[in-house]
Amino acid sequence: MDALMTWLETALADNSIFTLQTLGYYGEGLVTTVQLVFLSLIIGLVLAVPLAIGRGSTYRWVSLPIFLYCYVFRGTPLLVQLYLIYYGVVFVDGIQETWLWVILEKPFVPALIAFTLNTAAYTTEIFRGAIKSTDRGEIEAARAYGMSKGLMLRRIVLPSAFRRALPAYGNEVIFMLHASAIASVVTIMDLTGAARFVYARFYAPFDAFLFVAAIYLCLTFGILYLFRYLERRLLAHLKPASG
């Protein structure tokens, strides 16, 4: 560890921008960004599955509210949603006295809520499309076996729908990572926040933002690789049979 620090110090000796201090900001920013994106994706995913099933329901009192929710969150910019949730809640009278304020006071949770609701809306639509495009033959076969609706959903429809949704969902994950760059407008020091700090302090837009762009590229590469791996495993049955 000491050897690494000395190596870093010599490597950084002749530049005034990337000191140990600024690298520390980038490091903290990386942790914040990954936390924010990872948590919002996981919660969003958990919310999206029941919502996607409900969205295809024949009961309008179930499907209509979900449709409206998706429509609103896909139809407005994430930045606006973030502003409303972070600055908007302040105007609810007496919120400072309730337990809600404990979690809404710091910017992390409001940003997490905005990102989660946003990604849940998109993921719901992705899953709904996948569920809707289930082969009719499979459903008929399941019915012929006398499966109940719930069993059919669990054994037949959802497993194949998730596989079909995988490439589109991988895209959503990458979009979410990039959309998280707006977190710095509500004072969160994420990766972009760190870059903006370095930019404003040293007036060096190229250095600050190229460095952060490289970090985003690495993260994106990791996500791409993960989804490539998942697709290879889970969509193996769709590959042409080899000799």
Partner: protein, 256 residues
């Protein structure tokens, strides 16, 4: 033949600059970040006004050129100057060494201190590592106050960086911020005199160390525009001696 061309070009050139008293200095655009009361802000009708705006207009009138104000966000204000979106910055910019590497400064035209502001019901002693520990402190991103607070208290307190002073005031109102570190005149007019809430100044006004607080506010130009800077310095000296400067100062800061 060639001489004739040059001559006629010269004539055209002379006609073009005939409107201005100083042949080397053209009409310019000045970048400013609003709102930052009382230095620069908009009236309810949307007109730009403030100490910088009034003084800038007076300086331009003194030099005999037309000045147009261009509104630009703070964190991109120096890159905007270099990208030629405007020719000068007059936006409460503190003169310091870091900035001097990027831009050419006029003589300082005002030297305001910075100060800590807090909601009236927050009890903070004289700001120090101990009294600020664990608190959430607000600054505007990329300002000298940001640098000062980050270096002095970044390890013991949370520093929230805002894009505009308005966002910061909003978070102070809502109780998210325990204290904010601002230019004193700006804090005085946006917090103390606004009547929006109950605020107070904490501790003494801060002007040291010079490496953070610099030598006062200056007008920034591109490094090569030496004549322009000289023209503004000369005009500033004139306005200070004929009383115009004091008049404008009294309008925004009252009598000392």
């Amino acid at each position: 033949m060639k001489m004739n061309h040059l001559l006629s070009l010269g004539v055209i050139g002379a006609t073009l600059v005939a409107g201005s008293a100083n042949a080397e200095v053209r009409d310019i655009r000045i970048g400013v970040d609003v709102p930052y009361e009382p230095m620069e802000f908009r009236t309810p009708e949307g007109e730009l006004t403030g100490f910088d705006i009034d003084l800038g207009n007076a300086l331009c009138a003194e030099i005999g050129i037309q000045c147009e104000w261009v509104v630009q966000g703070w964190d991109g204000i120096i890159p905007g100057l270099q990208a030629r979106k405007y020719d000068a910055i007059m936006s409460s910019m503190t003169i310091n060494e870091q900035r001097r590497e990027q831009v050419l400064f006029s003589d300082p035209y005002i030297t305001p201190p910075s100060a800590w502001f807090a909601p009236g019901d927050v009890e903070i002693g004289t700001p120090s590592d101990e009294t600020l520990e664990g608190l959430t402190l607000g600054v505007q991103r990329g300002t000298l106050q940001d640098n000062y607070v980050t270096d002095m208290y970044g390890d013991v307190a949370d520093v929230n960086r805002y894009a505009t002073a308005d966002d910061m005031v909003l978070d102070m109102d809502s109780g998210r911020l325990d204290a904010a570190f601002l230019d004193f005149p700006i804090g005085k007019s946006t917090l103390l005199d606004s009547g929006a809430g109950d605020y107070k100044v904490v501790g003494e006004k801060v002007t040291e160390p010079k490496e953070y607080f610099g030598e006062g506010f200056g007008i920034a130009f591109r490094q090569r525009d030496k004549e322009l800077a000289a023209a503004f310095n000369e005009a500033l000296a004139t306005l200070k001696s004929d009383g115009t400067y004091d008049e404008i100062h009294a309008t925004y800061f009252g009598e000392e």
